[in-house]
Symmetry: C2
DNA sequence: GTCTATAGGTGGATAGAC
DNA sequence: GTCTATCCACCTATAGAC
């Protein structure tokens, strides 16, 4: 399959960005992992910025697909929020940071295209969460002050930050506790 | 003054790490900013890891000094928390990330010494916050569920995460809103 | 303490054969 | 599509003169 190599490149690159950051890996790392040469990687992704952009696009697509499954499997807003946080926790349990959380830290050195792609990921997260929060308020299953958008932004920030620090301590429980606390504050 | 150059190096390096990350700057960047050669930088900081370690130590010292001033100037726990959050906001307003928040993202590529120095910064933050939270609970000026240590960890994570994302949007208000929300959840 | 000069390595990227 | 070979810029770091 022609496309198969590109997918494997993305798989390895994704893991590298989530553990070492966009500035913390090179084409040589991917080449070594896949037993190919750097030159052949440039055939699939001419510049590193191309690889980075395709990485974010795929990550967002997969993430939104997971949110779609949450919508399909969970009815109540509290359960949706719990599953949302569980996605983050699974990433951390794999020893990784959220791809876009990582890129947010590296914002100052990112190419323009990757910057807006990264923000788009957070915008979509906020949009989905806002819907869940509004649903919960309507149903009376959630209780929070202020706007749903503001609460959504705060939750995303809290989860990303907790994840980043917990990873530095190699302590998933630390993330879990912060996550539980954040959900309780929304009445979940 | 002999020590003056080292301080200026640290000033520039600090700004670079807070905006571009530890892996996002080089001795050449500092050399250019200070109109000296790279070689002379190695006289003050033989290896980049030395520079990194001294950077964290100084950042923590200054941060703890700021917390000491908060203790001296604010009496009530809620006011202390507000001033704590204001320190973060001032950093963000300067277009910077928290030095250690930045390093937490780069954890996967950091030398061992910098890893433990970075965690020490967060440990000290937690310790101070825990004291303030216990004070507030004792005085009845704060109200939160669970342990003070857990609440402290959650607050640190929420502020770091909100800061990181807000910076990507160039939007200090976004941070401020998340910060206010986090403080309110502690009853402040 | 700061300089010139340079070593030795790695970064992203390209040309051209197969 | 993948390879060999190579370019050039940049990286951290050191030697040794001043």
């Amino acid at each position: 399959m022609a496309n198969d190599t590109a997918q494997r490149v993305l798989d390895v690159a994704e893991q590298l960005v989530q553990t070492r950051g966009y500035n913390g890996f090179s084409y040589a790392d991917i080449a070594q992992a896949l037993h190919v040469t750097k030159a052949s990687l440039h055939y699939h992704f001419p510049a590193k910025a191309d690889l980075g952009a395709r990485l974010i696009e795929r990550y967002e697509r997969n993430f939104l697909a997971a949110l779609g499954r949450v919508d399909a499997q969970a009815k109540g807003a509290p359960e949706k929020l719990r599953r949302y946080a569980a996605i983050y926790e699974a990433v951390l349990r794999a020893g990784r940071m959220c791809l876009c959380g990582m890129l947010a830290a590296e914002f100052g050195t990112l190419p323009d295209g990757m910057r807006s792609d990264m923000r788009h990921f957070f915008d979509e997260n906020e949009r989905w969460l806002k819907g869940v929060l509004q649903q919960g308020k309507r149903e009376g299953t959630l209780a929070f002050a202020g706007s749903a958008a503001g609460a959504a932004q705060a939750l995303i920030g809290a989860l990303e930050g907790a994840m980043m620090i917990a990873r530095s301590y190699g302590d998933v429980d630390r993330f879990h506790a912060a996550s539980e606390r954040a959900l309780k504050e929304l009445g979940a």
